[in-house]
Each structure stands twice: as C-alpha cells, then as structure tokens.
Symmetry: C2
Subunit: 198 residues, 2 copies
C-alpha cells in the first residue's frame, strides 16, 4: 500500500461523533465535519463516501460506549438500585456537555429528513440490545419477585421511558426534573418489600 491515510481514524470518528451528537445528523454538513476533524472535505469523501457512512461509524462508537455503561449499571444485587443506575446513566449521557447534547439515538430517530433504512436499522438494533441487557439482568428470581411486570415488559418500558426522558431533556433542559421523573417510574416498577410476586 502506498499513498497512506494521513489522519487518525479513531480521533476523526470521535470528533465526528461530537459534531453529530451536538448538531444532529441532518444539520451536520461535511464542512462541519471537516472543520471539527481537521480533515479536508475531499479526504472525507474519498475515505468514507458520504456523510451517512461517517455517521454510521460514529454512531457505532456511541452505541458501544452507551451499552457498556448500561451493562455496568445493571451489575449488582438490588433491582431498584440497578434500574435507578440505568436511568442515571441515560440521564448523564444526555445531559453531559455544555450545552447538553441530548441523546443521539433519539435525535436521529426523530430526524425524519435523512434517516435512511440503514440508519433506522442501526438505531433499532441499538435499542434492542439495550432492552436485551435490561431483560437479561432482570431475569432472576429475586428480581422478578419485586417487579410489577415481567422482565421483558419491564425492559420494554425502561427503554421506552429513557427515550421519553431524552425528549423531555430537549424541551425542559432540567436534569433534576428528569431524575425525579425517573425515580417515579422506578417506584411504579419495583415493589418496596421483597414479597408478593405478581
């Protein structure tokens, strides 16, 4: 091989992710990416083809980081603590940065203009993975005993609810309020005492 790539791919994608996360897929231009990454527009076209291809790679980075955090949050032997940790992670992810960047998945999903089937599929896959992590973590007798719903339904509700929190963050921009709302749903999903199954 000769005429070798001049930029560091990991750094570039990380910088691109930052831009996509902040501005959203549709609102980000190739020029934005070129400026943020320090890589010329032409080089980006040459290396990746188009904006959406870059997005896919950047989103993979995002999804990997997010799902890892979620998996970590679910470790532990207390259902209530686990669910609270999941929401805390989701809220932190979307309220980090100044100004807060929100949730990339939610932004992209709502961004009807571009979202190709490929991108949509990526989002769906991420959320399925998310739900699977939650469902699997919840599927143990001591946890089930304290849940208002079965693990699958609970996971579905949790994932959907984090999407709702992401929207509320966009509208109100108030992390404390999100935490409060999350606390409420956990209370509805988990019984206080360790008895009374279903």
């Amino acid at each position: 091989m000769a005429g070798v790539r001049q930029f560091d791919e990991a750094e570039t994608l990380s910088a691109a992710l930052e831009v996509f996360w902040t501005k959203g897929l549709a609102a980000t231009s190739m020029q934005d990416l070129a400026t943020a990454t320090g890589v010329q527009r032409g080089s980006l076209y040459n290396a990746y083809g188009d904006k959406e291809a870059i997005f896919q790679r950047a989103y993979d980075l995002y999804a990997e980081r997010f799902l890892t955090s979620i998996a970590d949050s679910l470790a532990g032997d207390d259902v209530e603590a686990a669910l609270k940790a999941v929401f805390r992670t989701a809220i932190t992810t979307m309220t980090e940065g100044a100004p807060a960047r929100g949730c990339l998945t939610t932004k992209t999903a709502s961004d009807g203009s571009i979202a190709s089937p490929e991108v949509r599929a990526r989002l769906a896959e991420m959320l399925e993975h998310f739900a699977t992590l939650v469902r699997t973590a919840l599927d143990r007798p001591d946890f089930r005993a304290r849940l208002a719903l079965d693990p699958a339904a609970t996971a579905d509700v949790v994932v959907t609810f984090t999407r709702g929190l992401a929207v509320m963050e966009r509208v109100h921009g108030d992390p404390a309020r999100l935490t409060e709302t999350a606390r409420a749903i956990v209370k509805a999903l988990v019984h206080p005492a360790p008895g009374r199954a279903f």
Copy 2:
C-alpha cells in the same frame, strides 16, 4: 382595507401543518409550504414573515386538536380505562397517515437545528398543559386509591412515556408494539383491585 388577502388562512395553516408534521420543521422549506398551500412563497413571506412564524401558528392548531383529544380520553369513571385511552389517543395521533407522521412535538423537540427559544417554549407549554389535564383528571379519591403513584407523578410519567412511544414509533414503526408497551406501563401504574393505597 383594500388589496385583500387572497387565501383562506385556516386552510393554509392546515396544509402547512400537514407538511411540518410529515417532514419536520427544519426539513420543511418555504417552497414546500408554497406548494402544499397553493400560496406563493412571496405571499407567505409577506403574510407571516418567516417559516418559524408559520410553524408557530400551525403548531397551535396541532396542540389544540391534540389536547382536546386527550381531554376527551380522560373523561369517564375508570382510571385504567382513562389512562389506556390517553395512550391510545397518543398512539393514534402518531401512527395516523401513510406513511405515519409521528409526533410533531417530539420531532420538533429533537430537531435541535432550528428550535428557537420561542418554539421550545411552545412545546414546553403544550406538554405542561398535557400533564395538567392528566393530573387534574386523576386527582379524585377513587382514582388515587388505585394509583401506584400520586396524580402529579403519574401525570409526569404518562407524559414522558408518550414521548418515549413517539420515539419508538420512529424507530420500529410498529403500532401494535406501541400499544403493548402502553398496556404494560398502565399495568404498572394502576392497581388491579380497588384497595391498597400506596
């Protein structure tokens, strides 16, 4: 007055709403609006100023229709039925049309690119109104007795959850699944038997 407006304002805003709802605020151009309404671009600039001003008016229409449907859904003497009706209304609103248009509020909220403070305030106001409708409707002894959370927290959770459903609709495009998820959260929010408060 002379040199009088040639187009019907109600029809125009209704057509504009349709476009905004389908394409989203940012992705809609003045030309799109001109085409959809049959009113020339220049006339729209003359009458309203800019795209966002048209959006505000169209959104008011949307909010009014939506909140009316929600209020209707909340009438009745069964908590569970009321909440289910609210979710049914929300789901219907976002899955109507071919292809489904999704939820305008959620789309706009996630559409970071344009959302001016004025637009954001409008969205916040709508959701507050939504929450107030739910909270007020739930605030009666027989309903409270069956709720896992107090009316305010329940309203907050319900509103946030409908936002989550809107995002899931964008990702999966599966109305039946949304209904299933909604059924699950209602189960977590409402006790089956009429006893046991808190």
